[in-house]
């Protein structure tokens, strides 16, 4: 029996890591080779991914359907915008946006998590629309339906230490990319931690988890706050990109987009919302070239998904592609039997 040590054989368990590395390299190279439009789109996809992840932390992991994540997105965006209009520091704007979104999440969460299922969904819808109407009507503060304009793409700086100019889109792209990757990594750690397990237990059986000594309400609130922070982060990175902030980002139809993206990609997987966010933009982009009536196609896709493919796109991969890959490359690690050479 001989085992080959060099070069090491490619095993199934290495594939995800390799693909991830390739993906990150690809993302890093986009501004160099893909042109302004793709760079711009990718940033939007990244922000939308964070938004969709925020929604799915609540639905896929905790079992709570929130139709109001757009409120935290909007709070993050408006807060960042207001800050940037006064103090042109990107760091302050983004952190401020996230913080305010978190505060609102604490308040709303406290009110919402004592209710379940349909009432929770309606409460979040309700609060979401309340924030929308504030954004629309409070002209003096939010600019009303015109929104806030002239928001600078402020430099990323720590006074006295360094200052990076963000006005070239390329630079801002790298900021958004790095922040998003870090945020996604943190999200991954959270859902695979004891906290993540506890949330999933709440999703699966409220009554059983109380008997594991868990206060359902408290943990739901924690999940709600984390989700609010992520939505707020996504929103906070919007104003420097677009230089304006307008009320539609607070409308329930924006929340619905997060719902759609998660469903599209698969609500029961980690990457589902991210894949869904990507697909959402790609589909929209493709369809819009042929007809302005792309919403019909989106609607049809939704119908197909709900009726036929509830696991989302990622489940198609998991159920078909991955087992084939396993077979082809072998498990790797402790599961591998030593073979004769």
């Amino acid at each position: 029996m001989k085992r080959r040590y060099f070069p090491p054989r490619l095993k199934y368990k290495h594939i995800p890591t390799i693909l991830l590395a390739l993906l990150i390299v690809l993302l890093l190279l986009i501004p160099q080779f893909a042109g302004k439009y793709v760079t711009y789109m990718t940033m939007h996809i990244l922000l939308f991914s964070l938004f969709a992840l925020s929604f799915n932390l609540l639905l896929g992991y905790t079992g709570l359907l929130s139709f109001g994540q757009a409120s935290f997105y909007a709070v993050g965006a408006y807060a960042c915008a207001k800050i940037l209009l006064v103090v042109p520091s990107l760091l302050l704007g983004v952190i401020g946006g996230v913080l305010f979104a978190g505060i609102i999440a604490v308040i709303l969460g406290f009110l919402c998590v004592r209710h379940t299922a349909i009432y929770f969904a309606m409460l979040t819808l309700c609060f979401g629309m309340m924030i929308f109407s504030i954004a629309m009507k409070w002209r003096a503060f939010t600019g009303g339906d015109d929104g806030l304009v002239g928001i600078p793409r402020a430099p990323l700086e720590i006074p006295g230490i360094f200052s990076l100019d963000m006005s070239p889109m390329e630079n801002y792209y790298y900021f958004v990319l790095i922040v998003s990757l870090i945020a996604i990594f943190i999200f991954y750690r959270i859902v695979n931690s004891p906290l993540g397990l506890t949330l999933q237990g709440i999703r699966d059986s409220e009554s059983r988890i109380a008997f594991a000594g868990i206060s359902v309400r408290n943990y739901r609130l924690i999940g709600f706050i984390i989700a609010g922070l992520y939505a707020g982060l996504a929103g906070a990175m919007l104003p420097p990109l677009e230089n304006t902030v307008t009320p539609p980002i607070a409308h329930w139809s924006h929340s619905a987009q997060a719902v759609l993206a998660s469903l599209l990609g698969g609500i029961h997987t980690f990457a589902g919302p991210i894949v869904g966010a990507l697909l959402f933009y790609v589909i929209k982009d493709i369809i819009v070239r042929f007809t302005e009536y792309w919403l019909i196609f989106l609607g049809i896709i939704v119908l197909v998904l709900v009726l036929g493919l509830r696991g989302g796109v990622v489940s198609v991969f998991q159920d078909r592609l991955f087992p084939w890959l396993r077979l082809r490359f072998g498990e790797g690690g402790a599961n591998e039997r030593i073979t004769k050479d």
């Binding site: 359907l65 009110l111 209710h115 309606m122 009507k137 469903l263 919403l295 609607g299 939704v302 709900v306």
Partner: protein, 286 residues
């Protein structure tokens, strides 16, 4: 001052009737089929567009136009239930909301495709023109008709549910689907018919608005949120609650526009939030 309040109250009651028509259908569908139909507002919108086309564009008789529009939306409702909703009764709430949201997307864009994004201008039938002086102000005759129509529908529905065989069947099936099926009630057909009927109620709301309200893409979306609010206030599945809820929301809107002109929408959401927080089962729910 009092005259202003009473007058505005009447205006509120009149606008409440449109809301009542959508909310009635929405709450019956929830009570019997167990589905929260997000797309109910789009059915309202379709009813308005159909009526506009038959009456406003093709010049048909007003009543005929309304009847045809009900028929059209009824067919849409039949198709929706038979080929789509039927397959999701057993699914969780997120999927139900999502499927019906898919319908909103499709219907809204279909309307834009067929009629364009233009607003449809109201056209008043000759026999409803004019106004009645109430407290020294002119109250349009049509508004009175609407109030009458809404009350007639309310009484009609109540009679239907309480006094007829259909009503008993519906109530039995709502409280225990399996049992009803076991004693021979054809549940699939019943559900299909009831859904189509509720679609027609929503369409009636839209169609009756032709003389006074604008039809535009997106009116469905605005109405569905208010309809949700009403069914929550009244209690999901509770018809009486829907009527009272509609009155409340209609009047609040009317007084809101009078007293807090910028924040009437916000105000209504606050009421909904308060109801949900304090008594989620609604005023009349169990």
């Amino acid at each position: 001052m009092l005259e202003v309040l009473v007058f505005q109250g009447l205006v509120g009651i009149s606008s409440a009737m449109y809301l009542w028509l959508i909310a009635a259908g929405l709450t019956i569908v929830f009570g019997l089929l167990g589905i929260l139909n997000f797309a109910h507002g789009s059915l309202f919108m379709l009813g308005a567009y159909f009526a506009f086309t038959f009456y406003g564009l093709l010049g048909m008789n007003f009543w005929l136009a309304i009847a045809l529009s009900l028929l059209g939306v009824g067919i849409v409702g039949l198709v929706m239930e038979r080929f789509f909703l039927r397959y999701i009764y057993h699914l969780d709430l997120p999927y139900q909301l999502l499927l019906t949201f898919g319908f909103i997307l499709i219907l809204d864009d279909a309307v834009k495709m067929t009629w364009g994004g233009v607003f449809m201008i109201p056209r008043m039938p000759v026999f409803f023109e004019g106004a009645i002086p109430i407290f020294g102000r002119s109250f349009p005759v049509y508004y009175l008709f609407i109030i009458g129509a809404g009350v007639v529908v309310a009484i009609g529905l109540w009679l239907l549910l309480e006094k007829t065989w259909w009503g008993r069947t519906i109530r039995a099936s709502a409280s225990d689907r399996e049992m009803a099926s076991a004693i021979g009630i054809n549940i699939p057909v019943l559900f299909m018919m009831v859904f189509a009927f509720c679609a027609m109620l929503a369409a009636l709301g839209g169609a009756l608005g032709t003389p006074v309200r604008v039809a535009a893409p997106g009116i469905g979306m605005a109405m569905i949120i208010q309809a949700f609010i009403i069914t929550v206030i009244g209690g999901l599945g509770n018809l009486k609650g829907a009527f009272v809820g509609a009155l409340i929301v209609g009047m609040l809107s009317a007084y809101g526009t009078l007293l807090f002109p910028f924040f009437e929408l916000f105000f209504i959401y606050v009421v909904m939030a308060v109801v949900l927080l304090v008594r989620p089962q609604g005023l009349f729910g169990r």
